[in-house]
C-alpha cells in the first residue's frame, strides 16, 4: 500500500506490468489489488487520453508502443470494466486509436482489433455459450440475464449482511471484519452501479459500532466522491453515517459548498438557502455537535483566509439559520443542548443572538438589539471569565454567524432614539473592529457618531439635495482606509437613502458619490440583502421598495 505514494504520475511501463500481473493471477487478492488501484488507474487513463487525442493512430503507436497491449488487457479485467468512469475513459482511448480512414496496414489491423475488443465487451463471448442458448430459448438478452444475476447476488449479500448485523453479541456473526473489509474493496468499482445500490447501502449501515473502521477507506472515499458528483443517491441517515466515519468526505462536501457559492456570486437568497439545505450539512450538524464543529472550523478558516469575504459571511449566516431551524424542528429524542455546539459562548448571549429576526416581531427589535449589545459587552469585557483574546474572538465569531442582527441594527440606527443609537453604533463598530488594541474601534465609533447625528437631522426632511449630505460623505471618505469601515458607512448611507423621507430623490447621485463609480458589486449585494429583508420580514414600506428598485435598475444599467 505504501507504493501508492511513490508511483510516478505517468508511467506506462508500471501500469503495463500491473496489467500483466492482474491478468495472470487468479487469486482473490489480485482482484482486490485492481480495486484498490482503481482511482489511480482512472487518473492515468485520463492522462493517456489527453495525450492520444491529438495523435493519429500511427503516431500514437510509435510514441507509445505498449499502449495497445495495456488497453487490451484492461478490457478483459472485470474490475476495470465494471466501473463506469474507467470503462468510458478506456473506450475513449481505444477510439483514439481507431482510424476512420486507415492509411496503412498497422491502422487497418488496429481497427480490426478494436472492433473485436468492443464486441467482446458487449456481446456474448465464446466462453459463455452455455448461458447463450439457454437465454435465447427464453428470448432474453445476455444483458437482461446479467442484470438479473447481479440483482440476485446483491440481494443474497444484502440478506446475509442484514442477518449478520441484526444478531446480538450472542449469535456468531457470519461476516467477520476481514470478510467485510474484502467485500467493501470489491464494491469499489460498483459504487455507481444502480443494481448494486442496495448492497452499498447495506455495507454502510452495517457494522456501525465496533473497534475501528472495518470498511476499506478507499471504498468510503469512492462513495463520498460519487455522492458529491451526484452519481448515486443514498438515504440521509446513511450519508450522515458516512461523514461520521470518514471525515474527508464531510470536509469535501463543505468545501464544495463554499466553492459553489463563491464562484457564482449571483445566487438569490432562496437559491443559496436551498443549496445549503440540499447539502444536508445543517441537518447533520444539528444532530451531531462533532460535525458542526468541523464544518464551523472550515467556515472560519475560509473566512479568515479570505479576509472576511462578504459571500462567505452570507453563507455562514444562512447556514446558521438553517442549522438552528434543523435544531428546533428536528426529532425530539437526544437533542444536544446549545452548549454542546457553542462551548465558548455564554448562554445569555446564545439565547439572544441565535433567535432569528424573523422570529421576533419587528416592534420588539429595538429592545432585542439592546439586549444583544448588553450581553455582548458583558461577554467581551469580562476579563475574568474567558475575556481573553480567545473569548473575544469566539464571541465575535458568534456575531458573524448571526450577522442578520447587525444588518437590522444598521437599518434601525438612523430612526432610533439617542440611548439606543449609542448601543447600535457600538454593535456596528464592534462587528467591523472586534479588536480595540490600537483604538481603531473607538476612533470609528467617534466618526460614525458624527455621521449618524448628521443623518438623523436630515432624516425627516422632505426636500433634500446632495449638498446636504456632502459633509457626511466627506467625513466618511476621510475615515475609510479599511474596508470594514467603508462597508459600515455605506450601510448607513444606504439605509438612510431607503428609509428617509427625502432619500429617494437624491439616491442615484448619492450612490454614485459613495462609490466613485466602482465597487458596484458591494452595493448591489447590500441592496439585494435589503430587498430580502424587506420581503421576508413583512415590512410594508412602499417607499423604501421603490427607492430600492430605482437603485437596482440604475446599477444594472451601469454594469
Amino acid at each position: 500500500m505504501a507504493q501508492q505514494s511513490t508511483i510516478p504520475a505517468f508511467c506506462l511501463e508500471y501500469w503495463q506490468n500491473k496489467a500483466v500481473e492482474w491478468g495472470q493471477a487468479t487469486t482473490l487478492a489480485s482482484q482486490q489489488d485492481v480495486c484498490l488501484h482503481l482511482q489511480q488507474l482512472k487518473d492515468f487513463l485520463q492522462e493517456i487520453f489527453q495525450k492520444l487525442q491529438h495523435m493519429n493512430t500511427t503516431a500514437a503507436i510509435k510514441t507509445f508502443p505498449l499502449v495497445g497491449q495495456l488497453l487490451g488487457r484492461l478490457c478483459w479485467n472485470p474490475c476495470v470494466v465494471a466501473d463506469e468512469e474507467s470503462q468510458r475513459t478506456l473506450l475513449q482511448c481505444l477510439w483514439c486509436l481507431y482510424s476512420a480512414e486507415p492509411q496503412n496496414a498497422i491502422e487497418l489491423k488496429a481497427n480490426d482489433w478494436i472492433q473485436s475488443l468492443i464486441r467482446h465487451l458487449i456481446s456474448d463471448s465464446e466462453t459463455e455459450t452455455e448461458n447463450n442458448s439457454f437465454i435465447q430459448i427464453l428470448g432474453y438478452t445476455s444483458e437482461e440475464y446479467h442484470s438479473n444475476v447481479v440483482k440476485c447476488m446483491v440481494s443474497s449479500l444484502v440478506t446475509e449482511l442484514r442477518e449478520s448485523c441484526c444478531n446480538g453479541i450472542h449469535m456468531p456473526k457470519r461476516f467477520t471484519p476481514d470478510r467485510l473489509h474484502s467485500l467493501s474493496v470489491f464494491c469499489i468499482p460498483l459504487v455507481t452501479c444502480l443494481e448494486a445500490a442496495p448492497l452499498i447501502e447495506a455495507l454502510l449501515t452495517c457494522c456501525e459500532s465496533g473497534s475501528g473502521e472495518t470498511l476499506s477507506a478507499d471504498f468510503l472515499k469512492a462513495v463520498g466522491t460519487a455522492l458529491l458528483q451526484k452519481k448515486i443517491g443514498l438515504q440521509e441517515t446513511v450519508i450522515i453515517g458516512l461523514w461520521l466515519r470518514y471525515l474527508p468526505s464531510l470536509e469535501n462536501v463543505t468545501l464544495h459548498l463554499i466553492e459553489t457559492v463563491v464562484s457564482t456570486p449571483h445566487f438569490s437568497p432562496q437559491e443559496m438557502e436551498s443549496l445549503i439545505n440540499d447539502s444536508l450539512l445543517p441537518k447533520a450538524s444539528a444532530r451531531h455537535p462533532h460535525i458542526f464543529m468541523i464544518v464551523d472550523t472550515i467556515f472560519r478558516n475560509i473566512l479568515l483566509e479570505s479576509d472576511g469575504y462578504l459571500l462567505v459571511q452570507t453563507l455562514m449566516q444562512m447556514f446558521t439559520r438553517s442549522f438552528i431551524q434543523a435544531l428546533l424542528f428536528g426529532e425530539a429524542q437526544d437533542k444536544p443542548p446549545l452548549k454542546a455546539f457553542f462551548p465558548h459562548n455564554p448562554q445569555p448571549l446564545l439565547m439572544a443572538l441565535l433567535k432569528h429576526p424573523s422570529d421576533v416581531p419587528s416592534q420588539v427589535w429595538p429592545q432585542h438589539l439592546l439586549c444583544i449589545v448588553e450581553t455582548l459587552k458583558v461577554a467581551v469585557e469580562d476579563k475574568d471569565n474567558g475575556g481573553s483574546q480567545r473569548g473575544l474572538f469566539e464571541n465575535w465569531f458568534l456575531l458573524v454567524h448571526c450577522g442578520d442582527w447587525v444588518d437590522i441594527a444598521a437599518q434601525q440606527l438612523i430612526a432610533s432614539k439617542a440611548e439606543t443609537s449609542e448601543a447600535l453604533l457600538w454593535l456596528l463598530a464592534f462587528y467591523h473592529h472586534p479588536n480595540n488594541e490600537n483604538q481603531q474601534r473607538t476612533k470609528l465609533l467617534a466618526v460614525a457618531r458624527k455621521v449618524c447625528d448628521h443623518l438623523k437631522v436630515l432624516f425627516s426632511s422632505t426636500t433634500l439635495s446632495l449638498s446636504h449630505l456632502q459633509t457626511s460623505l466627506d467625513l466618511a471618505e476621510a475615515n475609510s482606509e479599511e474596508s470594514g469601515s467603508k462597508y459600515m458607512f455605506n450601510q448607513l448611507f444606504l439605509n438612510f437613502l431607503l428609509f428617509s423621507a427625502g432619500g429617494q430623490v437624491i439616491a442615484k447621485d448619492a450612490v454614485h458619490l459613495m462609490t466613485h463609480g466602482n465597487l458596484l458589486n458591494g452595493i448591489s449585494a447590500m441592496l439585494a440583502g435589503a430587498e430580502h429583508r424587506l420581503n421576508s420580514y413583512g415590512l410594508m414600506d412602499y417607499k423604501a421598495h421603490r427607492t430600492l428598485k430605482l437603485l437596482q435598475e440604475h446599477l444594472k444599467r451601469k454594469a
Binding site: 482473490l28 482482484q31 487525442q53 472485470p78 474490475c79 470494466v81 465494471a82 463506469e84 470503462q87 468510458r88 473506450l91 475513449q92 477510439w95 481507431y98 476512420a100 481497427n111 478494436i114 472492433q115 468492443i118 464486441r119 465487451l121 458487449i122 456481446s123 456474448d124 452455455e130 448461458n131 447463450n132 442458448s133 439457454f134 435465447q136 430459448i137 427464453l138 428470448g139 432474453y140 438478452t141 445476455s142 444483458e143 440475464y145 446479467h146 442484470s147 438479473n148 444475476v149 447481479v150 440476485c152 447476488m153 446483491v154 449479500l157 446475509e160 457470519r174 467477520t176 470478510r179 474484502s182 467485500l183 470489491f186 464494491c187 468499482p189 460498483l190 452501479c193 443494481e195 448494486a196
Partner: protein, 356 residues
C-alpha cells in the same frame, strides 16, 4: 393510434432482423433508415411514457408481437416497452454483436460512435454509447460480485437458498417469468403443452447437462417472486411429477438439502419423493459377503446415499420430519418389526439414522 401499433410491428421486425443473418443483405442506406426508425420510436416512447393507457396498449401489442415473431424467427429476443425507449442503443448493440453484418457496415457503425466517445463537453447525444457501456458494465459487475461471493463464508448455518448459486437461481426465476409471460398471451395454447414444450427445449439444449437442468427446475419451484394467479409453479411441479424417470433423474441431480425444502413446500412432492425412496430401498439386497446393502442394477444408488437422503429429510422442517418418521416406522412394522441387522432394509435404515 392504429398506425402507431402498426409501426410497432415494424420496429419489432426490424430489431429481429438486426439479430439474424438477414443483415448480410443490408447496405449503408438501410442502416441509416433503421436508425431513423429507431429515433422515431425513442421519441414515441418519450411522449407516451407517462400516459398509462397508451403505455398499456403498446405493451399488450408487444406481447402478441413477441409471440408471433417467436414462431417465425428461430432465436428471438423478446421486446418490452422499456426497450422502445432505448431503441437506438438496442439496434446498435444487436448489429455490432451480429457476426453476419458485412464488414463495411460495421466499420460505418464504429465510425459513427467515434464523436460520442471524444466528446467531453456532453453536448452530443451519448445515449448510444451509454447503452453499450451499460451492457458491458453489467457483465463485468456480475463477475466482480461472483468474486465477492467466493470470499470465505462458513457453510455451517447457510440457509437453503444460498445452496443455489446465483446463476442457477436467476435462471430459474427467468424460466418462471418466461412461462408466466407466455401464459398471458392471448393466443396461448393449452398450458400443459406450454410447459412441456419449454422444458423439453431446455432439456434438449445440449450444452446443459442433466444435473444443471434439474437444478434449474428446482430453482423454478423455489423461486421467490411468483404471482400466484398464474399457477406457473404448479404446472412446473405437475410436469416434474408426471414422469417417474424424470423425477428420478431430478432427485439424483439435486442436492439433498434442496430436496428436503421442496418436500416441505409441496406435499405432492413429498409423497412422490418418499415413494421414490421407498421403491429404491425396497429394491436393495443385502450382500452377506461384505455385510452391506446393495442395489442390484444400479451401483450408483448406494447405501450411503440412501441414508443421507433420509437424514436430510429427518433434519428438515417438522412436517417433513414427522411424515418421514411415520413412514419409516410403518414400513418397518410391515416388514415384521425386526431389530436385527441384515434382515429388513427399514430396520437397518432406522439403526443407521439413529447412530447419526
Amino acid at each position: 393510434m392504429e398506425s402507431i401499433l402498426q409501426n410497432l410491428n415494424g420496429m419489432a421486425e426490424l430489431l429481429a432482423v438486426a439479430r439474424s443473418e438477414y443483415v448480410s443483405h443490408w447496405d449503408p442506406e438501410t442502416v441509416q433508415r433503421a436508425f431513423q426508425w429507431a429515433t422515431y420510436f425513442e421519441h414515441l416512447h418519450g411522449r407516451f411514457r407517462t400516459n398509462t393507457r397508451v403505455h398499456k396498449a403498446l405493451a399488450d401489442r408487444l406481447l402478441s408481437i413477441n409471440e408471433s415473431l417467436r414462431n417465425t424467427f428461430g432465436l428471438y429476443r423478446e421486446l418490452s416497452f422499456k426497450d422502445v425507449g432505448h431503441c437506438r442503443g438496442v439496434l446498435l448493440a444487436s448489429l455490432l454483436s451480429n457476426p453476419a453484418l458485412p464488414k463495411t457496415l460495421s466499420d460505418t457503425l464504429f465510425a459513427r460512435l467515434r464523436p460520442c466517445c471524444f466528446d467531453t463537453t456532453g453536448q452530443r447525444d451519448q445515449s448510444d454509447l451509454n447503452h453499450l457501456i451499460g451492457i458491458a458494465r453489467l457483465k463485468a459487475a456480475s463477475k466482480v460480485l461472483s468474486h465477492a461471493l467466493k470470499l470465505d463464508g462458513s457453510t455451517a448455518t447457510k440457509p437453503y437458498l444460498l445452496l443455489l448459486d446465483p446463476e442457477t437461481e436467476t435462471k430459474g426465476e427467468m424460466v418462471l417469468k418466461s412461462l408466466e409471460t407466455w401464459m398471458r398471451c392471448p393466443s396461448a395454447g393449452p398450458r400443459d403443452k406450454l410447459v412441456d414444450s419449454l422444458f423439453a427445449q431446455l432439456q434438449q439444449d445440449k450444452i446443459n447437462n442433466s444435473s444443471d437442468f434439474s437444478k434449474i427446475v428446482a430453482a423454478v419451484l423455489l423461486a421467490k417472486q411468483t404471482s400466484t394467479e398464474s399457477g406457473a409453479v404448479d404446472l412446473a411441479l405437475k410436469w416434474l411429477l408426471s414422469n417417474r424417470c424424470q423425477l428420478q433423474t431430478f432427485c439424483l441431480g439435486v442436492p439433498c438439502a434442496l430436496l428436503s425444502e421442496l418436500a416441505h413446500r409441496y406435499p405432492a412432492f413429498r409423497c412422490a419423493y418418499l415413494e421414490l425412496l421407498t421403491k429404491w430401498a425396497r429394491s436393495m439386497e443385502y450382500d452377506f459377503s461384505c455385510g452391506d446393502w446393495r442395489h442390484g442394477s444400479s451401483p450408483e444408488l448406494n447405501w450411503k446415499e440412501l441414508v443421507d437422503r433420509f437424514m436430510y429429510l429427518l433434519e428438515g422442517p417438522t412436517l417433513v420430519k414427522e411424515a418421514t418418521e411415520t413412514a419409516l416406522c410403518a414400513l418397518k412394522a410391515d416388514d415384521g418389526d425386526f431389530e436385527v441387522w441384515g434382515i429388513s432394509v427399514w430396520t437397518d435404515l432406522l439403526i443407521a439414522l439413529k447412530k447419526m
